[in-house]
Every structure is written in C-alpha cells, then in structure tokens.
Amino acid sequence: MVTVKHRKLLGIQTPPASRVHPLVRFARRHTAGLLFLLPALLLFAFFVWYPIIYGFVLSFQDNSLFGGSGSWVGLGNFRRIFADPLFTVAWGNTLKFALYGLLFGYAIPVVLALAINEVRYGKAYFRLAFYLPVIIPPLVTVFLWGYMYTPDGGLLNGLLGQIGIGNQPWLQSPNSALQSLVVVTTWANAGGTMLIYLAALQSIPAELYEAAELDGAGIARRIWHVVLPQIRGVMLIMLILQIIATFQIFTEPFTLTSGGPVNSTTTIMLLIYYYAFQNADLGAASALSVILFLVLVTLSLGYFGVTRRLWAAGE
C-alpha cells in the first residue's frame, strides 16, 4: 500500500484526485451503490415499511372499506374486538390448529427422513414422492381433499365403508372439521420439512456413529444419543417455524369450511378477512392485525434468538 507519505518519499506526485472537494469524493464513492439499492428501497418503502406503520395508525382510527371518517378513536377498535365473542373462539381455534399440527405432523418428517436416509433402495423415489405435495398449489390441494372428504361417495368414507366403518362427517361436524383440516395442511407441508431434516442427517459426521459403536451403542441408542442431539437445533427451528405458519393459516379453512361449522374452524386470519372484506370494518381488522403482528414478531424473535445461539455454538 503506497500512502501519501510514501509517495512524498518516493517523489511521486500526489494525484489530483485528492484535491477534489470531499463532498464530490463522497458522492463518487457512494452514488453507484445507492443507485443500485434504489429499486429495493422504493419497493420496501411503499409495500412493506409504510404498510406496517400504516397498520398501527389504522388500528386507532375509525375507517371503513368505503371511506369512513378516519377520526381517532383511541383504543375503541381494540375494545370492540375484545367484546366480540369470536375473538376468543378464533384464538382458541388458531391454538388448536397449532397444537394438532404438532401432534399430527411434527414427528412425521423426522421419522421419514431418518428412514429414507438409511434405506439402500429407492431413496430418490421416496424423497420425490414425499416432497411432491409441497409443490402442488394450495387451491388444488384443498379441492382434492374436499373431494375426498365428501361424506356421501367420497374416497375416505368409501374406504372406511369397505372395512365396515360408517360414514364420517369429516369437514361437516364441529367435532372433526378442524382435525380434518390439520390433516390437509400436514399432508401439504410435511415433505418440505423432511428435506430439511434429510440435509441435517447427512451433515452428521460418520465419526460420531463410529465412536458410539465403540462404546457399544446399538442402533436405537445411536438414534437417541447421536442423531437426536445432532438435529436438535434444526428440530427446534422447525418447531417455531411450524407454529408461526399455523398462526397464519387461512386458505384451508377459508375454502373448505368458511370457518364453520359453527365457527369451529374460524382462525385469526379468517376473522381479520371477514372484518375487513365482509363487514368493511377496517378499524377492527387492523386492530386484530396489530395483535397478530405482535404475537408473530414475538415468535420470530424467539426464532432468531434460537438460530443465533446455534450459530454461536458453531452448529
């Protein structure tokens, strides 16, 4: 590196660039970089940052989809949605979705990945077959499942009939609608999570298995003492991501049950949609969005906390 001092010692003329005004030099250094950032900046400003702030403003205002006064109502919107009996119902359903989602679907990708990673034949086929539902557009998935769930003459009741079990109401009873929807979301998403676990399993160093073997650990104990501790971090991340995803569940209940029967599948996102686009009540919709926003941000902070700790731990 030739510094100014060296240049003088060596008798090199200081280039004229250094006589340029500092502001001009600053502009030369940064203009291109800022210009390249401009498209992203503008789009984020208009369609992400501004809406996020605007959402908070709207939640304290009286607005309807067709105009409205826009006057400040303080916590009025929040009081209104707390008074709505559907508020607790929707939160309860959303939590149930998360709970059943974990119950039905959390272990499946781990077990599938573990099995596929060990088998010696058809690995590529299994990976493909189990991942396939992930690429199917959700609208196709819900229509297909709606077709299979048809109480009279649908595939599932037809198959149950073959083994002597009577018709099940599936989506049409408040006792089974939510669980039936969880089956659909699990079916649609498990394959993606499985791929992540497969990648995690393949990154486990062979030495760990060998060391466990030398200590006399059989296959089951190796799963418990080597595999599970090695993929624990990924499992925790997948847990949080799955909860964040189920808190936003919309398409399945919207298209298959419209939140029914008797509001048994009305979720928070569905309630926000109905407030805004059926009642045209933007105040209530925004207030509920703000609450959902805060819950999701809290969950995401947990997610980032976990990933950061894992990175720090060198995993």
Partner: protein, 312 residues
Amino acid sequence: MRRIIRVRRGRSQVTDAESTERSLISPLEWYKPSVRIAHWAIIALLVLLTLTTLGPLFWMLSGALKSSVEIYRTPPQLWPAAPEWSNFSKAWTELNSLLYLGNTAALAVGAVVLQLLVSATAAYSLSKLKPVLGNALLFFFLSTLMVPALAYLIPQYLTVVHLPIFGISLTDSWWAVWLPEAANAFNIIVLKSFFDSIPNDLVEAARIDGANALQIFIRIILPLSRPALAVVAMFTIFATWKDFLWPLLVLTDPSKEPVSVALYQLGIAASNGVPQNVLLAGFIFALLPPLILFLVFQRQIIRGVNTTGIRG
C-alpha cells in the same frame, strides 16, 4: 474405512452420490439378518406410505375421467369403466383454462424478472459496493423477515388500492401483484450471501481495467451467480403458482385472474353447475405446469431447499 463402504455400496448398486458416507447403520450391521429384515420392512412401509401422497393425485385423475354418475359411486371405483377424456376438453373450454393459465404464467414471468432485478441489484450493492448506510439498510430489509406478510395484509391492500404520493390505484393491474412481491428480503439475503462468496479481487481487477459498477454487475457478478439466480427464479415461480389470497383481493377483474383465483371463483365459491368431474380436470390443468417444472428440475430444487432452507 470409507473405501470398504464404497466397495460394498458399489456392489449393492447404490448410485446416489450422497450415500457414499456411512450413516446410522454400520457396514458390519448390514450383515445381520435382523437388520436386513428390518430394512426390507421399512422399505415396504415407505412404499405403502407413498400411497398417501401419490394416491390422492391418482384419485384426482381417475375422478376427472369418471362420468357424473360414477364419480360418487360406492364402493369407490379405482378406475372408471369408460374413461371420459372429453372432461378435459370440456374443462379447457368451459373453465377458460388457456386464459387463466396464461395469466398465471404472465404473473410468474413478471415476478421472476422483477424479483431478480430488484434483489440482485440490492444484494450486489450491499455485498460489493457497500455504500454509506448500507448496513443500516440491510438491517431494515432483514427485520421485515420477522413480520409475516399476512400480518400487514390490510394496510398493504389499502396501499395498493390508493398508492401514496402517486395517488393511483394498482388494483386490477398485474403490477399490484408484481411490485409488493418484489420486496422480498429473503431473496436479497440468498443472493447477497452468494455474491459474498465471489472474490473481491475479481471485482477489483475489473475496476482497475476501467469497468464501472454497472459493467461489473452485468459482466462478472451475474454470469458467476447463475446457480443462485436459478434457485431464486425457481422458487419465485412456485410461489406465484401457489399464490391465492393476494391476487383474490387485488385482481377483481375476471379476465386478469390467475388460475388459482379463477378456479376458486368458478369451482368452490360459486355452485353454478360446473360438474365435479370437469372441475377436477380443470384443477389438473392448474397442477400440471408446476408439476412438470418440478419433475424436470427436481435435483436443482432439492439442492436449493438444502442450501437456502426455503421449503418450497
């Protein structure tokens, strides 16, 4: 040790490149009869389980070929006695499939172009040009990852209906889908981390040769980043094909709707008498493009899932 495994694997005809490392079960254990039996039992079980993912797709095809009488017959018929292939031509014309598939394709192409353009320029700037405030802006981009888009759906919708400063409405224009989608922090990170792996010496050498920032971007960064750009493009196409709620809200003009919204309006929301078997054929049309794309590019896509963590 590893060579022994390779030899054994070679004999058992496992060609998958990823399986050259040993995994949970040791090479020695593969000689145990109990392990071998369990192995075949697990394979049989997995084959049965793939029926739960492939079965419904097969059922969809068989339903699309059944007559209106056969479709709800019990016990369920695996395959119709006389497949009605005409259901597909009916779906093509009655559901206006060409228009709606074309709309989705146009939305996907526009989304790919715009997202690549916006994300790559931003990632290039943050990775190589590093302008003033770059790190602060990176933080602001990244922090939006913590907020799922549905949490600000309503204000975002209102923004599109009445764009501030410009005072125009984007609804019923494809820009209403393209522009908000292009503000994607995840793409920026994926591309930035890829650009970070391109040696700075390369960029410096080009600069000394007199290339300006734009030339370096087009001639060096972009050609070297084809794999990363391909992954982003692929996931953008799948995301657009899956998109439902946002286009449902902002594209109310029926001639602009993507296929997902059109099938919802024609098939699920309205019970205006399109028969179930024809609808199933229409849904198969909507499924085919992403399915074919996936089957063609499955290796790249699966590798993309592994390197980026996007689950598709």
